[in-house]
């Protein structure tokens, strides 16, 4: 049942609802991760109340053992469960990468389709809180580079909820990247429908229509892209903003249709620019539309450095609205 009653809630709550709904629908869904059970309900409180409602056998607090967490999820998924594993912060993916890339991602293929790994790895990510180099990175490109994984990065609470429910019931392993700064910040809260409102993976969202330039982004930077579009609207430049929502599968058709129309594209993300997702997307746009482009595709991303601590340096690392505005203007010269 779906209803359309408007409710403004933050992403943290929307994610909680998604897991609540999925667990209510299917006994095979269970959660595991560090500190996720009551009384704390996780360090970011995303799983608040769920262990009380569903029991600690389904909302499982684990040892601080990321490889064991992902390994247990992989095995249980093959055995017919739908585990949702929480890796507290994306940088910690590094200590369980073997389980993710060599096992979760490859097992369907290596077994010739006999065994499958329907699981979700939820993880918080992103700079902006002065957490320093080991608690701030966006590493989604690692996962995109690994066939067998799906990669989702929501930009708002409604999408986060709809995409997470879809991810939990997806037949393949999904890395679900949650922009940490958006969890409880009311400026990112939005109307989230109650009930099971799934958003399919692989369907981009045209956040704003425009005709001069296409800005393609995902996650928190979608909001910066919209701000840049607002600024440029005042200068007579019409910017189309596409929120990819999922990087694998990628809604290439929506991107190419838009860029065919605008003939200009800027890809924006917070992750390090070098070999970031923008490099791949820019390359794909050039391969498909080279002769028709009015300018080369531009990339706006994080600096090619670890994420620094000092506030001014951290701000300098993260792409800003002004950088997006400048990139768009450079295409219109």
């Amino acid at each position: 049942m779906t209803t359309t009653e408007p409710r403004i809630i933050p992403m943290g709550l929307a994610l909680n609802e998604a897991m609540d709904i999925a667990m209510g629908l299917d006994e095979k869904v269970f959660l595991l991760g560090e500190d996720i059970a009551e009384p704390s309900g996780g360090v970011y409180k995303i799983t608040k109340g769920l262990s009380t409602k569903y029991g600690t056998h389904r909302v499982r607090k684990t040892p601080i053992s990321e490889a064991a967490i992902i390994g247990a999820a992989v095995g249980a998924a093959i055995a017919g469960y739908k585990p949702v594993a929480e890796i507290m912060i994306m940088d910690f993916i590094a200590v369980c990468l073997d389980q993710i890339t060599n096992h979760a991602a490859k097992i369907r293929y290596m077994s010739g389709g006999q065994t499958t790994v329907p699981m979700v790895i939820r993880t918080s990510a992103g700079a902006g809180r002065q957490f320093g180099a080991q608690h701030s990175e966006m590493l989604e490109a690692w996962a995109v580079h690994t066939p067998g994984l799906k990669v989702v990065v929501p930009s708002n609470p409604a999408d986060a909820k709809g995409l997470l429910i879809s991810s939990i019931f997806d037949p393949d392993p999904v890395l679900f990247v949650e922009p940490m700064l958006m969890y409880w910040d009311p400026q990112y809260a939005c109307d989230v429908p109650v009930g099971d409102n799934r958003i399919p993976l692989g369907k981009a969202n045209i956040v704003r229509e425009g005709k001069d330039v296409t800005v393609i982004s995902y996650g928190k930077q979608v909001h910066d892209a919209v701000k840049a579009a607002d600024i440029l609207a005042g200068e007579g430049v019409s910017v189309e903003v596409i929120d990819l929502r999922t990087l694998v599968p990628l809604d290439e058709a929506t991107v190419l249709a838009s860029v065919s129309k605008t003939k200009r594209a800027v890809v924006v993300h917070e992750a390090v620019t070098r070999c970031g997702f923008g490099a791949e997307l820019s390359s794909r746009i050039h391969e498909e539309l080279f002769g028709t482009l009015a300018a080369p595709v531009a990339r706006v991303g994080g600096q090619n450095t670890p994420v620094p601590y000092a506030k001014n340096l951290e701000t300098a690392f993260v792409p800003q609205v002004a950088d997006i505005v400048a990139a768009i203007k450079s295409l219109n010269k």
């Binding site: 040892p63 390994g71 992989v74 095995g75 998924a77 389980q99 096992h103 097992i107």
Partner: protein, 330 residues
């Protein structure tokens, strides 16, 4: 082999069944090595020769719906758990008729119908995954048991320690079988491992642990039987360190200069498979005719599988993009 007749020893049927499994492994391994040596086939091959009694000893306690997880050196575990000979050979040879349509290969044999659910080429990685199978059984309230196999070298990687601890904390129905063949690649255990017995590590996780002569089929049968019964009864995991020896080094073509010649010679002279055969006959557990019949049957089975695999086609190129995801995503 130092097999003893205990009052609670396995019955004749079980003893013969164990020999049959051992012989199947030995015969299959011998065929692989001879075909590799003669150049009829080419593949990366990790011989399990010398370690047969371990797999046979636990496998006879398992049901088809129990799970086994193993490693690149896994042929003995595959056969013991009942992976069919034809599909196994075809997968080793990269044929479309293989267990995994030729897409996994020897290091990734998977056959869920037999309960052989994961074969990994990453040292130690099967351990955390086995916990997931154990957790699934525990959550579902079934009494399925998971046996996970790994080497002595694997007990030094993080996944082992994380996995052992989690299994103990969650009382998972998992049996950890460390097949200690005294070497990890070219390094003897004494140079890589801070304990004399891997079983000493059980105490660190509050997990019962035993060391057993893995080349003694009856001793292995007892140790595995106790651990599997405990797991089935919901009493939690056990670590079994099964001491053994790999006759042919790390992989086919290994010059083995790091293995003392006398040590290897002594181990091969004590080959546990013929020793068990002799013991069965001496103690009247089987007759010569009975064992010869089994052996002939296995040779015929291997002949048939080799022919099947050699005559099977390679996978179609269309298979490149299937099974990456449920649907094709390029």
């Amino acid at each position: 082999m130092a097999t003893t007749n205990r009052p609670d020893s396995p019955d004749r049927e079980t003893l013969v069944q164990m020999y049959e499994i051992q012989n199947k492994i030995k015969t299959t391994d011998e065929r692989f090595r001879s075909m590799l040596t003669s150049g009829q086939i080419q593949l990366i091959y990790y011989s399990p020769r010398g370690q047969e009694c371990i797999s046979a000893g636990y496998a006879v306690h398992l049901r088809p719906d129990d799970y086994v997880v193993t490693i690149y050196r896994g042929l003995h575990d595959h056969l013991a758990k009942g992976v069919p000979m034809r599909e196994l050979w075809a997968e080793f040879l990269g044929r479309s008729t293989g267990t995994c349509k030729g897409k996994g290969g020897p290091m990734h044999i998977t056959h869920p119908d037999s309960g052989l659910v994961v074969t990994t080429g990453i040292v130690g990685s099967g351990i955390p995954i086995a916990n997931g199978f154990g957790l699934a059984a525990q959550l579902a309230g079934t009494d399925q048991v998971t046996v996970v196999n790994f080497g002595d070298g694997a007990s030094n990687i993080g996944a082992f320690h994380e996995g052992m601890n989690m299994a103990a904390v969650w009382k998972l129905p998992v049996v950890f079988v460390c097949q200690n063949n005294l070497y990890g690649e070219h390094t003897p255990m004494s140079m890589s491992t801070g304990v004399e017995y891997i079983s000493e590590r059980g105490a660190a996780y509050g997990m019962p642990a035993v060391t057993v002569n893995g080349n003694d089929p009856v001793a292995m049968w007892h140790a595995a039987g106790e651990a599997i019964a405990r797991a089935r009864a919901g009493e939690g995991p056990t670590l079994i360190e099964a001491r053994t020896y790999r006759f042919y080094g790390h992989l086919m073509g290994d010059a083995m200069e790091y293995m003392p010649k006398e040590e290897r010679k002594a181990a091969m002279a004590a080959d546990p498979v013929p020793a068990f055969r002799a013991w069965l006959l001496e103690n009247g557990h089987a007759t010569e005719a009975q064992l010869a019949e089994i052996e002939d049957k296995i040779v015929a089975m291997v002949d048939d599988a080799v022919e099947f695999a050699m005559n099977s086609p390679e996978p179609s190129l269309d298979e490149l993009y299937t099974d990456v995801y449920e649907e094709i995503i390029k």
